[in-house]
Amino acid sequence: MNFELSEEQQLIQDSVARFVQENYGLEARVELAAKEPGFSTTHWQTMAELGWLALPFAEADGGFGGNQIDVMVIMEQFGKGLVLEPYLASIVMGGGALKRGAATALKEEILAGVIDGSYQLTLAYAEPQSRFDLHDVTTTARADGDSFVINGAKSMVLNASTASHIVVSARTGGGQVDESGISLFLLNADTDGLTREDFPTVDGLRASELAFKDVRIGADRLIGEVGKGYEILNATANDAILALAAEAVGAMEVLYKDTVAYTQEREQFGHPLSDFQVLQHRMVDMFMEYEQCKSMLYRATMEAAAGDPETAQRTIHALKHIVGKYGIFIGENAVQLHGGMGMTEELRVGHYFKRMLVIDSQFGNADYHLQKFAA
């Protein structure tokens, strides 16, 4: 057992940390989030040039052959600045589904563009009725000659407004909540019959509701086998949970450290707030839960990278549970200890707190994963 980063990982960590420090001050982030497309295309290009977009793809696919640990290193640093570029949507989610399931020809056609940043992917998996269940799918894909016809709706699709391609889960067989009978397709974003409603999310990111009306797509756009998409979807969701948890751990660090710093500066009753024992203990609790989340992140990520899906699955449920629960705990208390200032958009803590709330709502909240873990 070894918790040390490799030399390459250390270099990437330093370089991402520098990028975040130089580009993701609060003001810069707020400005980027406020205008279209909701992130910086220049930063996105920089990330491609530095090889970050290539990291988790196999060398045969033009990538660097990295794993979940490498993605964790990047995402944790991203979390410290709440980076807006669609790394999660394009590389971890859309790219994750493609690298796992797509035939060689499709990978050859798409992944080079994903890696150089000219293509942008996302994954449309949730539906209005599905809540957190990946296998609750009512969108249908009907086979018709050598193509499929898709009808239905997808919800809360991350960064869909800028995506060039969208990975969609649709039912080719089975009942509404069956794990079998789900198929994955790679759609061009400008396909006829696909309409979008775009909106911001409370954390300053972008999402869309998608509607599919007789969207025709060639069978060569199928990712994995017909009716066997769930396994790919679930494995990709697990990677997304690991990435989100890493981002959350980075953000938690900012939340508790900003709080410790603020309470030492702010004076009331003739003392710095940090003199009050009740606040000291609260900050110690915030720190403890941050460390616990970090430990669980390491545990789940290392298990996933070691390739034992069953053990990793249980730990990933545990991870998403505590990251949701304690992320919000740390966020709420960061705001509370900042007092009125914590309630404003002028300080970082409010923004990081909102990101914690959104992270809890993605890929299953704390309650959902507790139930999965206990089952």
Partner: protein, 389 residues
């Protein structure tokens, strides 16, 4: 001990319901006109427009049970919008500590809702430790007016208020609680600049107020110079039970359950999820107990006794319950709770739920942060003396 409502109390409840039904807002009506008319009609009922005012100033002189019934019924009815700063906050101070001329000058407009007020208490350096405030009020050489300079912060509705009641420092030579003076002055005048503060839910309700050489005639001072702290503390006692909002929480909890019944979960709904159900049940149990804590507190007050120890926990419990309901609403929103922007996405309550939750984080900060409230309970109720922090 008897849990039954008396015949008179039951009649009163009926009377209140009838009044709300008869005077409900009807679609198409001019809202502003309806609002003023509503308060006029409530006044004609014998002080229903100012339930907490004493009969001496036109209040209804209700029993605690009647207040409780009123709170329960108002939580369900749609009342015209009303801010607490006039009727609920500055009026009781003017009644208790103002002179006759001030009472005649200010109370009628407050009661008729013709004038909007805001509260100038907190400052950038004086939050939980309010008594350390620094906004200076200097008496002119001829003794005719004060000149006020300083900054107030978190001032709710300062951008729409006509008047402000303001704590100012006239003396910093002694204890910080001494030398504070309570002044009233109009908001729309030279030397007052109001700057909005946007809070986490994206709303503009609080402001920073910059005061530069604002002239305030001495006749606008409440009570004596340097005694403002005593007056402000009197007000805090007055508003003690109002902040718990228990009846509203009960209605909000019902709303949450209704919403959860409309959230699909597989082939059933979120209300069929045992974990979610248990959380709403836990909230209901806490509310049931808190309701009776409030009733016990009201009964003690009615008997003319000093507030019992139970009253001290109402703000703490009440605000924490409100926050838990808001948090559960966000959970009920599921994947859609993240959606923001002008339109609601997925389900109708998710966006409002998130905005409400974010706003609710302030409940344990304003009006005395919960940590400070607990300090006060420890000291005043439990009698704990502390030698160090």
């Amino acid at each position: 001990m008897d849990i039954k409502l008396s015949r008179q109390d039951q009649d009163f409840r009926q009377d209140v319901r009838q009044f709300f039904a008869d005077n409900a807002y009807r679609a198409g009506e001019d809202y502003a006109e309806w609002r003023l008319e509503w308060f006029k009609k409530a006044a004609e009922k014998g002080g229903w427009d100012v339930p907490k005012w004493s009969p001496e100033f036109g209040g209804p002189g209700w029993t605690p049970t009647q207040h409780y019934i009123w709170e329960q019924e108002t939580a369900r009815a749609t009342l015209p919008w009303d801010m607490p700063f006039g009727v609920g906050m500055v009026a009781p101070i003017i009644m208790a500590y103002g002179n006759k001329a001030q009472q005649e000058r200010f109370l009628p407009d407050i009661r008729a809702r013709r004038v909007n007020w805001c509260q100038g208490y907190s400052e950038p350096g004086a939050g939980s430790d309010l008594a350390s405030l620094k906004t200076r009020a200097e008496l002119s050489a001829d003794g005719s007016h004060y000149v006020v300079n300083g900054t107030k912060i978190w001032t709710t509705a300062a951008h729409i208020a006509d008047w402000i009641f303001c704590l100012t420092r006239t003396d910093d030579s002694g204890k910080k609680q001494e030398g504070i003076t309570f002044l009233l002055f109009p908001m729309k005048q030279d030397g007052i600049e109001v700057k909005p503060i946007i809070t986490l839910g994206g709303a503009h309700s609080v402001n920073t107020v910059y005061l530069t050489d604002v002239k305030v005639p001495v006749e606008n001072r409440i009570g004596e110079q340097g005694k403002g702290w005593t007056y402000a503390k009197g007000l805090l006692q007055h508003e003690r039970t109002g902040l718990a909002g228990l009846s509203r929480s009960l209605v909000a909890l019902e709303g949450l359950r209704d919403n959860a019944r409309r959230v699909p979960r597989g082939n059933s709904t979120l209300m069929d999820d045992p974990a979610f159900r248990a959380k709403t049940a836990e909230l209901e149990i806490d509310l049931m107990a808190a309701e009776y804590t409030e009733l016990r507190s009201l009964a003690t007050a009615a008997a003319g006794a000093a507030p019992g120890p139970e009253s001290s926990i109402l703000k703490l419990k009440g605000t924490e319950i409100q926050q838990r309901i808001q948090k559960l609403t966000v959970e009920a929103g599921g994947i859609y709770s993240a959606a923001w922007g002008p339109k609601s996405v997925g389900n109708s309550f998710a966006k409002g739920g998130m905005a409400g939750y974010l706003a609710s984080r302030a409940y344990t900060i304003y009006g005395g942060a919960s940590e400070v409230q607990r300090d006060v309970v420890a000291k005043n109720v439990l009698g704990i003396k502390r030698s160090s922090r």
